[in-house]
């Protein structure tokens, strides 16, 4: 198994700071904006970004977690049923600007499911997508991210591994892995 470092700790920190600045640029005082992290790993990225944004803007920004398992399109096509995680959205998303946060954008199918799930809570005014890693040329649906940490050329057979301190790793690092 070959491992290649895509983003090391320092670079990842700079990247996340840049993403936050971009959000501030587009969302002003965040009075209409809510942040929603995708289960299971997008919530960890959302937590980091949310914390940084609150520090930057000195505002309370609503943060929620969304699980799209029950809206997936591969149910009964998998060996085992997909395991669900907690959905926690304790604010109205009707008419708000939603920033959906995930770690890796790959086929786009999870985001498709997430958009469907989100609509069951109301009709947001606008939805944007933020991802740490955008895997180029692997999309199976017409979905694109508005804020990208890093675009990476990958093969479908490769895997992107995100290691975050919140998961118990020593440092935040992102790897590209060759399956053999």
């Amino acid at each position: 198994m070959q491992k290649k470092l895509i983003l090391d700790t320092d670079l990842l920190d700079i990247t996340i700071s840049r993403l936050c600045q971009e959000l501030v640029e587009n969302h002003g005082d965040f009075s209409e904006t809510v942040i929603i992290g995708m289960q299971p790993r997008g919530i960890l990225v959302a937590n980091i970004i949310h914390q940084k944004l609150e520090k930057l803007t000195k505002k309370d920004i609503p943060l929620g977690y969304l699980d799209a398992t029950f809206h997936r399109d591969d149910f009964r096509r998998r060996e085992i049923p997909a395991k669900a995680n907690e959905t926690k959205i304790e604010f109205a998303i009707e008419g708000r600007h939603v920033v959906l946060v995930d770690d890796v954008l790959f086929t786009g199918r999870t985001i498709r499911a997430a958009l469907d799930t989100m609509i069951t809570f109301g009709r947001p005014k606008k939805v944007e997508l933020l991802v740490l890693i955008d895997r180029k040329y692997t999309r199976e649906l017409p979905i694109a991210a508005d804020y990208v940490g890093k675009s990476v050329n990958t093969l479908t057979s490769q895997r992107v591994l995100v290691e975050l301190e919140a998961q118990g790793h020593k440092q935040n690092k992102i790897w590209l892995i060759n399956k053999d």
Binding site: D67, T69, F70, H71, R72, F75, R76, R78, E79, I80, P81, A82, K83, A84, N85, E86, T87, K88, D116, T117, I119, T120, F121, G122
Partner: protein, 307 residues
């Protein structure tokens, strides 16, 4: 592992503690779903489920049907009272005819113990037992244990008394299996005529005095007196039963401790449970009903996904 060990839910006896915990974790997610503004998810959109009820039911059937609709499954309903069963068709023929119409899953209630087990040996579709005679009623036991877990934080180590007509109760047997698998202590209490012989061999305590049972337990699961199954007299009169085994607010207040009151419904108000006890803050009877939908969604979701 996020897969059930079984293809069917025939009884709690056949499933493992891990299965029960997986169902609970999934049910928690579905409970959040059914409290959303839009309560429907498309998970079982390409699944057809037949609800085959050879015995009357209101709550269980409504609960299953609602669970199926919330999961976007297609459903058909069948009740024996207005069907060809009356014309002499066998169980297997009836079910095979339904399956020939491309049905993926059967939810069945039947008066004969073991009917779903028999069916499971002869057909390919997933089967959920919604009650087989006086044998098992697994989804009821799951929702009861789920409700206890929600109210008290966990089931392990808790003391649960099952009070009333144990002899005719499939809820009692499934509850005993489920609670024991989750590490609870179980006691059964009722008049000697309504306790099965050798019930002690299941590892439950047996108590004849309802006050002592209530004093012992954290949760009292009060069962209905099933008059429709009692072909002989098991006690002199309902009034006498109510006098010795009925639970009311006065009795609960005299315990000097908080216990949780549960009932699988339908309640015979004034017989096993008085209105002031059923409607008191001790009672989680309506939570049980709400949890029933979430738990059944979890069971259907996990079984259909394994197909």
């Amino acid at each position: 592992m996020s897969k059930l060990s079984q293809k069917h839910l025939l009884g709690i006896k056949n499933i493992t503690r891990e299965d029960i915990e997986l169902i609970f974790e999934t049910a928690e997610n579905f409970k959040e779903v059914i409290n959303r503004p839009v309560k429907k998810v498309p998970s079982l959109r390409d699944v057809t489920i037949a609800n085959v009820f050879f015995e009357n039911s209101t709550r269980t059937r409504l609960s299953f049907e609602l669970a199926q609709k919330r999961l976007s499954a297609d459903t058909i309903n069948f009740s024996a009272s207005n069907s060809s069963v009356k014309k002499g068709e066998t169980l297997l023929d009836t079910v095979n005819n339904i399956l020939a119409m491309k049905v993926d899953m059967i939810v069945m209630r039947h008066a004969s113990p073991g009917a779903p087990h028999y069916l499971a040996k002869h057909i390919k579709a997933n089967i959920v037992n919604a009650g087989d005679g006086t044998h098992e009623h697994p989804t009821q036991a799951l929702l009861d244990a789920f409700s206890i877990r929600e109210k008290l934080g966990s089931v392990a180590g808790k003391k649960i008394a099952i009070i009333g007509d144990i002899l005719h109760s499939r809820v009692a047997l499934s509850n005993i299996f489920a609670l024991q698998k989750l590490g609870a202590k179980v006691m059964v209490c009722g008049p000697p005529t309504l306790l099965p012989k050798f019930i002690g061999q299941l590892g439950v305590e047996v108590e004849l005095d309802v006050r002592k049972a209530l004093q012992w337990c954290d949760v009292a699961n009060v069962l209905r007196i099933q008059l429709e199954r009692q072909h002989i007299k098991y006690f002199p009169s309902l009034r006498e039963y109510s006098l010795y085994y009925g639970i009311n607010k006065k009795l609960l207040d005299s315990l000097k401790k908080q216990i949780v009151i549960m009932h699988p419904g339908p309640i015979n108000r004034g017989v096993e449970l008085s209105s002031d006890a059923a409607d008191s803050q001790h009672s989680i009877i309506l939570d049980q009903v709400e949890n029933g939908v979430a738990v059944r969604m979890a069971v259907l979701y996990l079984l259909a996904g394994a197909a």
